[in-house]
Amino acid sequence: MDMKNKFGTSSNAVLFVLVVAIAIIGAVVAVFRMDTTGQKGSGLGDAFDYDLSEHRTVDPALILYAEREDLKMEVGITAPRGIAVDQADRIYVIGNEKVVVFEEGKLVREIGVKGPGRTLAVDENGTIYAGVGDHIEVYGPSGDFQGAWEGFGPEATVTSVAVAGDNVFAAIFDKTRIVIRYDKAGAIINRIGDKDKERNVPGFMIPSPFFDLAMSPDGLLRVADTGRHRIEAFTFKGGLEEPFAWGRFSNTEIDGFCGCCNPCNFAILPDKSFVTCEKGLTRVKLYSPEGEFVGVVAAPEQFARHDSIGNEKGSDCSSGGLDVAVDSNGTILVLDPCLAQVRVFVKKTGTSKVDPDA
């Protein structure tokens, strides 16, 4: 039996209106709470986060170097990738189709190269050996083009060049990952790093196109075998000097090299110590000539722009991978490709021969 209240309406009708009103209010609230624009994130749980922040933290006591902001150089070229220092401490930076030369912090020369410049080395006469795409180009001290050596094909990249006496060494990143020893006319003398069981050479394991080498004052060529997280020592004829190889993987301990393939680049100080650069956790570290961890030159927080690669909308930094060179005073020069700057690091007061405030 339908009950009527004092207003003459049925209680069932009131109940019906109430339910409909609640449903409409609920629907309106639900529509307004909907996140159609993604403002509230994915809604996935913590298990789906990829967080490297704890690994980016470095104990300040381990940081032995300070950056000299007043000395940094804007390189003014696109895609700067390689840095070198000559015997007169002039700084050379190579990038897309250009080499720039700085003397005492001032730009003194620009040299055009014939493609995407990646790496370079300068000999005692000032001759420049530039890794451009798959080949080496040679330029005189005044920037005159002296020739291009035969390339390794469209899939190859010359990732590093070093000069020692009459020898030029080039790291080639292609299917084989090999180091080539040339004479200064561009003739190949021998290959270094081919897999050879009899000589106990396992071959290089280079997962990404970061494959660096440098000549040490001890007369051995050092090559970063990044997939093994090691710096290895070779004779000019390709003999692996296992006792001089060092390095290990660790994402959690600062003395190890992080990620799949580091150190991405390195340089050797006049006292034979090593300065290494890593990507992923972008940092620069110092190791003794024997490979023992000494301290940090620059911590990941000093390369915050590199963290945006692949993580931030519209990041203008598409290619990480610091390069490093050292001058005759032991000053560390870091090429930061994200900022297109040469950043200068000197030992902190009390820990070095170099006074950062000098």
Partner: protein, 191 residues
């Protein structure tokens, strides 16, 4: 009888009229077919630009399908076949083995297979992948970026307004021609 015969006989005018009608219908059909064909040829579908994608995870939850049409794919030619794959292992992995506690993928959708010392191949188990992009972050952070997300067109229902595209904070979703529906990374794109 004569009248009946006359009515069954087709005169020249009827033949002409019928012929014109038939030709008209044929032409209309041909035009409709051509237009339809052109429309199909010019059809656009959704795709994710891997160079803009920031692997935020929203592809996993904003797709109208229960199981997202976005999945991880792998360009093997770019891959380093690393023993220590940062797309496969947690940054704090204790051992380089296939233990679940060491794997980065929360759904176990990346499969690690030994090739030859010291190389391993990584393949995506597509039904397990939900398109969260966690492995993509790990691969991009340290490696070559050979793992990346794509809209899989065997699953995508090609909504007029893709709800992932609306929610995508990187503006990485695009309309691309149906005849070339994937944006595949190639060697040389690595960092």
């Amino acid at each position: 009888m004569d009248d009946k015969k006359k009515s069954k006989q087709i005169n020249r005018r009827d033949l002409l009229t019928g012929g014109i009608r038939g030709a008209g219908l044929l032409g209309l059909g041909a035009a409709a077919g051509a237009l339809g064909g052109r429309a199909a040829e010019g059809q656009m579908v959704w795709q994710l630009d891997p160079h803009k994608c920031i692997s935020c995870g929203q592809c996993a939850t904003y797709c109208v399908l229960d199981e997202s049409a976005v999945k991880c794919v792998h360009t093997y030619a770019m891959c380093g076949y690393c023993n220590l794959c940062t797309g496969y292992y947690e940054p704090n992995a204790q051992e380089l083995d296939t233990g679940a506690e060491n794997q980065l993928c929360p759904t176990g959708a990346l499969i690690r297979t030994f090739i030859e010392d010291p190389y391993y191949q990584y393949t995506v188990d597509e039904p397990l992948c939900i398109g969260c992009g966690k492995c993509v972050k790990g691969c991009n952070a340290f490696g070559n970026g050979s793992l990346y997300l794509q809209v899989c067109h065997d699953r995508c229902v090609n909504c007029n307004e893709c709800s992932i595209a609306v929610a995508c904070p990187a503006g990485a979703f695009k309309r691309v021609p149906a005849e070339n529906p994937y944006m595949v990374k190639e060697v040389g794109h690595s960092k």
